[in-house]
Symmetry: D2
């Protein structure tokens, strides 16, 4: 599990007085980026090789509103891993209290930017995710 801590910005709020629900989708992205960093897989290098990782599916359940200035933890776990795709699970919790604010899941597929065809991680790249993945899988069962 990789945890990113964020503070909710004023510009994240909407006229209902809470963080707009599209932010959660962005926070999930922050979690994925950090996960790649911790695994030692460089997103910019992948992109330089012409490989992108577009989102195919996202779900988010909103449990409790997130407010301006809240400190939140984005907990990211790798739930499925194959050469071609990854499924991540997310929990957003209020940092100080541990209160669960939202859960979600994203599926992304590695893709050759030019052709749009599916790309596959190398053995070396797979290896970098392996141990974190095994740990996460167990935690999610």
């Amino acid at each position: 599990m990789v945890t990113v801590t964020m503070q909710v910005h004023f510009y994240d709020t909407d006229m209902m007085g809470i963080a707009h629900h599209s932010n959660h989708i962005r926070w999930f992205e922050c979690g994925r980026v950090e996960y790649f960093r911790k695994a030692g897989v460089d997103l910019l290098e992948l992109m330089d090789e012409g490989i992108t990782f577009p989102i195919k599916k996202v779900t988010c359940e909103y449990i409790s509103p997130v407010n301006f200035d809240d400190k939140i933890d984005i907990e990211t776990r790798l739930f499925k891993l194959s050469r071609a795709q990854m499924v991540f699970h997310f929990r957003i919790v209020r940092k100080e209290t541990g209160e669960l604010l939202a859960t979600g899941e994203t599926q992304n597929v590695f893709t050759h930017k030019e052709s749009g065809s599916i790309a596959r991680l190398t053995d070396a790249q797979m290896g970098k995710f392996r141990s974190m993945y095994e740990e996460d899988k167990q935690a999610l069962q």
Copy 2:
């Protein structure tokens, strides 16, 4: 069904060269807002009465990338309607070709802003959604 046409802005794009996937969640919102307008239910009036309609759940399936300057139609259908909640279905299609770019669903629950307790639509408000809802329900079967 209510259709909103949008043009994808430069600021909607990310460094993968496509519209960022959080925009779809925002486009769904545009669809809901227009649906309320067509039904004759005033969101601002509801908010003045202390009723908000936070999203409880969102899902989006991304079928094909959306590019800068694309003209897209956001097709919004009401799938479930009760006094306390609404479930909407969305299709995002490329306007010129009709190509399906994404589908999605949102669930929102009417809520008293102060107490956080569930609010309920009045008969009059329900009545305004009824005919559009019956038509949409049939189309979605």
Copy 3:
């Protein structure tokens, strides 16, 4: 002058209940994009040639708040034109009343993406802006 009409989205608002002030900077961009389109200069073609047009300076004066669901006109005029840079003037007005909501100015410099050095418009490209520019310059005096 090129005019773009926009409707203010719910997600554009913040907890002060008005459109967040960073949106004006984005609306200016919509105005520039439309200006290029009207002039017949293709931004994507420029980018394919490795030319980008980063903003060097932006100013915005906020005269009156912009609210959710407001219909606004973004009026864009070209104020300075040279091979290497453009300065645009913007007026944001409420469509129905003509009330002036904000004014602004942006300066952008054509840049070779790889080297970061200044790029220059061709005679053909300059020619496309010329007549609109002459008209705008006169209006701004």
Copy 4:
């Protein structure tokens, strides 16, 4: 001077491959929020008293592009202080190298939300900003 450190998100980028220029305006806001916090003036309390602080003017000069994953420092200094308005100066620098990426200025006016008329800080509130302001003013000369 108050410094906020941020890491540039993937969703902050646009298809030119750099952080979109509207983000700088949002980063300035983060600086102001932190400045209020350091001074001990509670923005939410002000808003509960019906006082908002809309931006009247913003300027930003973009010196060097900000890239995905860059760590940046937002340095915020209070340049003018009166009961009714504040002018802040901002410098955005790359954290690791100190390279100056952008400078900017915002002017905001305290406003009664209901009437739209100008609001004024109390002696107590003014007092909280005073020492930071004196220090900043000197640094900016």
